[in-house]
Amino acid sequence: MNTCASTLAAGCLALFAAAPAAADPGSRLWATGGVTSIEGSAGGGLSPWALLNGYASDEEWSGTITLSRAKTDDYSLDVTGAGITWQNRVELTFARQTLDLDSLVFPLSDAGLDEDELVQDIWGVKVRLYGDALYSRWGQWSAGIQYKQSREYTVPEFVGSRDDTGTDFYLGGSKLFFAAIAGRNLLVNGTLRATKANQGGLLGFGGDRNDSYEAMAEGSVSLFLTRKWLVGAEYRQKPDNLGFATEDDWWDLFVAWVPDRRVSVTAAWVDLGEVADIANLGDQTGAYLSLQASF
């Protein structure tokens, strides 16, 4: 965990250095770009929202870069991501996920597989279809695509995955309710995703148990304690395509700090359920930390 902390600290410094100090990060109100999800799209930590990343309003460009890490009992996931948004209309994102298999290295090597990590790249595009999360009565609606490619496919193939690439399609709605609870603003998001991805794609796409697209529900609620601090919870339903181990839904509780438009820090407690549990590891719970810079 010390290495984790120092890596993040170094990353944080790099992010601050990379964010041009004087540049205008866009005109949308604070925290209305959400944060960067583990798949690169603007959202919470686990699920994409209808909000577009950064702060570009209808006459502007904006961009984000992000470093995130989740450390559960037996795995660690690192994500580096970047995105740009054009006129609060189109969001383009890229994320690379690296999952260290820590506790599975020996069981895997017993099975003749010398792999200690899973890696995938995710290219995302999201288009705002309708509305503004703050000002429109019916909120903001966006549709998105995530094209995912496994870069370390030996293990996924071994456990029954059918494909090393996959595409998720989703429709998301976001709405901010002003002065909803004790005068605090409440942000509600719902997302419906069509996917074949196993553990988000880290274990490939489709499997021996199911090889068809399924619709998955995702949602979150966040309360703005002030305009700089928000707390919330997130949930993401998951398919269960592989016979070798069950795949559980994900959820988390988070707190995000958005001191100004240039930076955000998100910390969360995540419960990923059982993940590729071939060695009686139990539910994977742990901490998540994400640093984002906007420009």
Binding site: D58, L134, F177, F178, L186, A233, D249, W251
Partner: protein
């Protein structure tokens, strides 16, 4: 699906329901507490004054305010916010749609003004809840100001 999650989703749906009914009300009930929290008419006048200073400095929107009668604008906006927050004032200016009809206000400009208003309220130590309640009452003007 785990129980806490179900509860959260239900809670958010319930809130959504309440909120939607609230939003259809375009002539807010008098809310003496909000008016008090904004510092009554004097407090609102101070907020509007600070807002005007912020607007003048804000290159995204100051062009729209060039050449206006600052005194009149200050009086009108103060009366409008006073009335909107439940205070005993009467707004005598033009309607929002009429006064913004030829201005082609963009989302960028609307956001800029919202930001300046929040900063002006912060400068005057308006509590977060009161800021949010006032903005909630201003949000229904969005389509009129944007001429949508």
């Amino acid at each position: 699906m785990k129980l806490p999650v179900v509860l959260l989703i239900l809670a958010s749906l319930a809130l959504t329901g309440c909120q939607t009914t609230g939003n259809t009300d375009r002539s807010p009930e008098p809310d003496p507490a909000l008016y008090e929290q904004l510092g009554k008419r004097t407090g609102i006048a101070d907020i509007v004054e600070d807002l005007l200073y912020l607007i003048v400095e804000d290159e995204r929107i100051n062009g729209h305010f060039a050449g206006i009668d600052v005194g009149q604008f200050h009086t009108n906006l103060t009366d409008q916010l006073c009335s909107l927050s439940g205070g005993p004032c009467t707004y005598t200016g033009r309607g929002m749609r009429e006064s913004h009809a030829d201005m082609n206000i963009t989302d960028t400009e609307f956001n800029a003004l919202a930001e300046d208003l929040i900063l002006a309220m912060e400068q005057n130590n308006v509590p977060t809840a009161a800021q949010n309640r006032l903005i909630k009452r201003l949000v229904p003007m969005y389509p009129d100001i944007r001429n949508l």
